[in-house]
Structure formats: structure tokens, C-alpha cells
Symmetry: none
Subunit: 211 residues, 4 copies
DNA sequence: CATGAATGAGGATTCATTCAT
DNA sequence: TATGAATGAATCCTCATTCAT
């Protein structure tokens, strides 16, 4: 029989570590990295200050570990759902609905990575982008690229379109937080992205042929 | 002839103040508000530490003054150009081209306000939004609203569309900075926003039967 | 047997705190509150600067804690001795002898509270007076009041007399410090207070015709 | 004819100087020397910061000049009145009444010197004592000494008695300020000092039947 | 002489990090 | 592993003083 002791210990460690990461997310989201306070993090987690240093070598490494964890979860969450969709139009829609759902379910964690993307620390930003790589590929290839290849999307610059989609997604999320969760409808966002602002039918009749 | 003594003095004051604001923009852009260092700001401006406090009561007030100045300049810059355009489609295009031009001309100043919008400090954020009010109104009324009223835009939710446009604009700017100025083509962005991703199918036949 | 761990830790805490208070007394006595230097206090106590802030939230709170501690000790010291005296004349005498003894034993601590009483900070002053309340009551009731009630003291205004006694006490102490401890004889002071300056019997004969 | 120009200039200088000294008194009284702010002093006086340095070489010298002026005025005020009294008993009474009158007429100036006497700065203290020399001599010689010499005062230690009188005077003044001017009756204080607390025994029997 | 912008040493306070228990 | 007292570099801010105008 294998002894579960080591596992149990790791589980406990893991639990402490996770509580610290959760508390760090709260603090980093509220204060930003530079304004965050190690002491408050440990207290929020229910530990003493020193405990953080038993699990992370520095405040900076704590932040990086948090970024890695949250960004990975973020990407997994979206990827898992998007890839279940059969075609790229639904995938596009799913990208926004899944993305918003993640923010609603983990608002604090999401705030950390989103703020980091727009924050001043280049190394943190790079870390987020690195973790988001798969997400960019998803948009670039499985949505934009596929749509163009199939002729259903106009031959837009896929790089630009990727930037647009990410900007819309992250920007909308930032506003959701700011206004305390207005709740933006992902379907509308997808429609906006798919069809743009301009009215479709150029037929001048329908235009003002109102009675 | 009146002696220009007082004026000269005020000019000097004004000059010092402006140099401090410029240096502050550099520092806040690079380090974020919390990470910014008052001493570095004064040195960048070519003054001693204490000089900042002859012109601004605190680091925080310095930041607020900078936000006010930059946001006002930002809004003026865009408004001035957009309002010279005859119709809302060109206005939409101009919004992006002017917006990107401002970021290119004043990258550091722009970075401060953009980062602030996505940063953790609610009071700063509110200050930016307050200064941006006129810009929101411009988009909401003079572009989206006008386009819908004339029947050229689909009856999208104007609030959502405003969020989309601002997100696209700010998000693109953030990426421009990150990558050191890729140079996003405002015309393409405008086209994206106007027409969306989906191909206009004039006829179901055309879809793949194109020569 | 219970382990003395927590107690030991508290003892250490307490010890550090007390060393800081002692060092603060030295610094505040020498420089006054406004002129006192937190860094010097911590160094005098044998700690680094930051340690003070592990025990007191601010320089001001450190001062208040010191006032509270010293004033309480001062009052206790005098009260304890005075109340052991059988009658109010001896109590009066004891008030001065005990009072001077306290100053001799704890000259630095005494200097802090005495200087505070005459210093510019109203809040500090109020704190001292608040702690001295019991001392005022002692003088007012157990010495002056009792003496008057028994008919042995002239019916002076007890409030005024209390002010006189405290002024004489504190003023004498201040002078003792200034001159580096001349050593004022409490018996003489008590005699002065009891009998005043004026010769008793107007008959110039009796005075020296005694022996 | 002598030209009054130089005098006029000196008068103006003198006026500025005096306004600065008055403002300094207000500031030093309220904040103490270490807490006093040169800028506030100049503003209270209606001048710019630099003006102080046209009249006094430093904050410290400003304080010393203020001490000298106020202490001299204080001593003059009391001496002038006391010396008009025919006998030492009335002089004693006059010492208190004149002393209290000075404090009532110039509460701020008086506060500065009184606080200085009890403050931590030895040099300032010495300066006050030096200026008070004549006052000590007055008490020591013309009141205590004279009274003893004439046999009307008990042969108390004149040094101690001087300390008592000064302590009573300064201590009462300090309390007058603290409580916002209770108004202590100088006659009562003089009576206290002259006759003490103890009732003059009309008969040796009255005491209480002590053995 | 009056001014007030500029100076920079100094000081209170914060906080990431260490380490003995 | 968890603790939290101690550390001291770093930071914001104050303010006496200087000096060109």
C-alpha cells in the first residue's frame, strides 16, 4: 500500500499556497502590483507575513505565479468551450460568452491579468501574453483564419482582427468591473464584430421607405 | 507700457510646472502611479525634489493635474478633427486616425491616461472618464446616434457600441505601445468597425461560385 | 507544565516596548516632542528605526503612550506614599518629598511630563492632566479640603490652593532639572506652604526670646 | 535741521521688524520653537518668506530676539510697578498683580517666554533667565531680603523663596492660558504666599488636644 | 528692502524581506 | 511549516535657507 502521507502534505502545502494566491489576487486587483501589501495578503489568507516566503521567494514571484495560474485557467476555460463549437461563427460567439463568463465567475483573478495587460510592467505583461499565446492562436487560426479560408469572413488582416477581438474582450471586461458588472451581452458583442455598424442591404428602397 | 514683470514670472512658473508635468508623464508612464518616484520626476525635469511641492501639493495632486491636462488635450485633439468631418462615417474613421495620431505624437502622455483607465485606482479612473465625457458624447451622438438616425447604421445599442469603439481604440493604443509602435492602420480599424468580419453575401450563389 | 512560549514572546515584546519607551523619554526630554527624532530613539533603544513602528503606530502615539505610562507611575508613586501619612500636614509634606523623590529617581521621565504640561500641544497637555486627575483630587480633598474642614487650615480657595501647590511642585522640579539637581528641600517647601512668608507673632519679642 | 530721513527709514524697518516679531510670537506660542514655521510667521506678518531673513539671520536668532524683547518688556513692566510700592508686602502683592496684568495684556508674548522657561532648549532658557535677572534680584533683595531684614518675614532661605515665588507666578500663568484665562486673583495669591495654609493659632490649646 | 522660486538635508513612515523560534 | 519581531532601504513630504529679480 502506498502511503498517502506525502500527498497529504503536498495537499496541505497546496492548500496554503492556493489560499495565498487567492488572497494575492484580491490584493493585486485592488491595489495593483506596486501598491499591494504583502502583509495584507497574508492576513487575508489567514496566515502570518512570513508564510508567504515559505511558498514564494518574493512578492514578484508571487505575482508571476498568480499570473501563470490565472492566465492558464483563463485560457483553459475559454479554449475548452470554444473548441466544442462546430463552426467559427459559433466559436466567435463562444469566445465572448465564455470570456465574459470567466470574468463573472472569477472577477478578482480576471482583474489581475487584465490590469496587468494594461499596466506598466513589461515583464508581467510579457508573462501574460506568453500564457495567452494559445488564445491568440485560437482566435487567429480557428476563428479568423478559418473564417477567411472558408470565404465567410472578409479577407481582413488576421493580426489586426486578433487585436480587435482581444481589445474588445479585455476592454469590455475592464468596463464591466468599473461599473460593477453591467453585464454586457456577449451575443450583441459577437454580432457587432460579425456585422459591424453599417447596415447590410444597400437597397435604397428599404432605407426610408417607411410609410 | 505695462511692465511684463508679473507675466514673466508667471511664465517661468508655468514653464516649471509644465516641465514637471512632462517629467511626471514619463515617470508615471514607465512605473505607474504607485511605482513612480517623486525624486526621479524632479530630476528628469531638471529640478530638485522640493520644487515639485512648490507647484503641486502632493504626488497624488500631481497625477490628477497631469490626468486633467492630458485628457483635456486628448479630447480636444480628437474632437477638433472629428468635428471637421462632414458625415459620421468619415467621423468614425477620423476618430481612429486622430486618436492614433495623438498617441503617436504624445505617446508618453497617452500612456498615462490609458493605463489609468485600466489601473486599480478608482478615483483616477473617474477623473479620466470625467474628462473624456465629451468624447463619449461625440461617439454616442455624433457618430453612432447620427448613423442610426439616418438609417445607415444598424440599430445597435449605442451604449454598447460606444464601449466597443472606446475599447478598440484604447486597446489598440495599448498594444501599439507594447510593441513599440506597430502602427495600426486607422482605416482598417474603421473598416472593421463598419463592416464587421462577415462577408456581405449579395447572393447566396456568390458564396463560393466566384471565379 | 504549560509551555511559557507565548508568555516568553510577550515578555520580549514587552521588553522591547519598554526599552523604546525609555529611549523615547530620553529623546523627548532632551529635544521636546517636535524636536525629537524617531531614528535617535530607536538607536538609543538599540533597535532599528522600523522597530518603533512595530510597537507604536506613530511618533505621536509613542508620546501618548509614554505620557500615560509616566504620568500613571508618577501619580501612583506620590499617592501611595501620601496616603500612608496619618494627617494632612504630613501629607502635604509627603506630597513634596515624594514628588521630589520621583523626579530624582526618574528625572528623564519626569521631565517629559513636566515639560508637556508647559508645552504648546493642547492634546498632550490634556492627556497629562487627565492622568493627573487623581493627584489633583488628592491635593484638593485629602490635603487642602481636609485641613480646612478640620479648621487647621485657613479657609482659602481650594482651587487656588491646588494650583499653588502644583505650580510650586512642578516649577521646583523644572528648576531642579535646569540647574542639574540643586536638590530642593521638601521640608522647607512644605514649611513655606504651611506658614507663608510672614512672621507669625507680631510681637517682635517672643520670636527670639524663646530659648 | 536734522533730517528725519534716517529715522523714518529706521522706523519703517522697525515696523517691519516688529510685525515679524509679533507674528513670530503668535507662531512660537502656538507651535513651540521646533514646531514653528517660518513661512507661517511671514504670512501672519503680511510679508513673504524671504523678508524674515532681511531682518533676522535665522529662525533661531528670530527666537532669541523675540525672547530678549518680550522678557525685557516683561521685566520692565513688573519692575516699574513694583518699585513704586513703598513696602515689601505691597511689593509682593504688586509682583503678582503686575505679573498677571502683563500676561493678560500680552498673552501671546508671555506664553512664549513662559513656555521657553519650561521647554527643552537650554540656550533659550538661559536667555530668558538672563533677561529675568533683574526680576530675580527684585524678588530676592527688595521683597524677600528686605522683609527678612526688617524682621517681618521669617528667615526663610531667600533662594528657595525666590524659586517659590517665580514658580507660583509662572505656574499660575501657564494655567491661566490653559484654561483660557480663569483669572487668578493676585491678592489671594499674595495672601497665600504671605500667610501660608496653616491657621494662626489663637491659642496653643485649640490644636486638638495633641499630647 | 521685499519677493517667492528653488534647494536639499532631514524626518516620519512604509514595507519587502530575513530569521530565530 | 508557520510565525511575527526586527531590519533598513526607500519614499513622500517639510521647511529653513538662499538668491536672483
Amino acid at each position: 500500500m502506498p502511503r498517502p502521507r506525502k500527498d497529504a502534505r503536498e495537499e496541505i502545502l497546496s492548500d496554503t499556497r492556493q489560499r495565498l494566491l487567492d488572497a494575492a489576487a484580491v490584493e493585486f486587483a485592488r491595489e495593483g502590483y506596486a501598491g499591494a501589501n504583502i502583509n495584507r495578503i497574508s492576513q487575508t489568507a489567514g496566515f502570518a507575513k512570513g508564510t508567504i516566503y515559505n511558498h514564494f521567494p518574493s512578492k514578484r514571484e508571487l505575482m508571476l505565479a498568480l499570473i501563470d495560474q490565472v492566465a492558464a485557467a483563463h485560457v483553459d476555460f475559454i479554449l475548452h468551450r470554444v473548441q466544442q463549437e462546430p463552426d467559427f461563427v459559433r466559436r466567435l460567439s463562444c469566445f465572448f460568452s465564455a470570456g465574459f463568463a470567466f470574468v463573472e465567475q472569477q472577477p478578482v483573478q480576471a482583474a489581475v491579468v487584465i490590469n496587468t495587460v494594461y499596466g506598466p510592467d513589461a515583464a508581467f505583461k510579457a508573462r501574460v501574453f506568453s500564457a495567452y499565446e494559445a488564445l491568440f492562436v485560437l482566435i487567429f487560426q480557428d476563428i479568423i483564419g478559418a473564417g477567411i479560408a472558408l470565404g465567410d469572413f472578409r479577407p481582413v488582416d488576421p493580426d489586426l482582427a486578433t487585436v480587435m477581438l482581444m481589445s474588445i474582450y479585455l476592454g469590455s471586461c475592464a468596463l464591466m468591473e468599473t461599473d460593477g458588472g453591467i453585464g454586457i451581452d456577449p451575443a450583441q458583442v459577437a454580432a457587432f464584430v460579425l456585422d459591424g455598424l453599417r447596415r447590410r442591404e444597400p437597397s435604397p428602397v428599404s432605407e426610408k421607405g417607411n410609410p
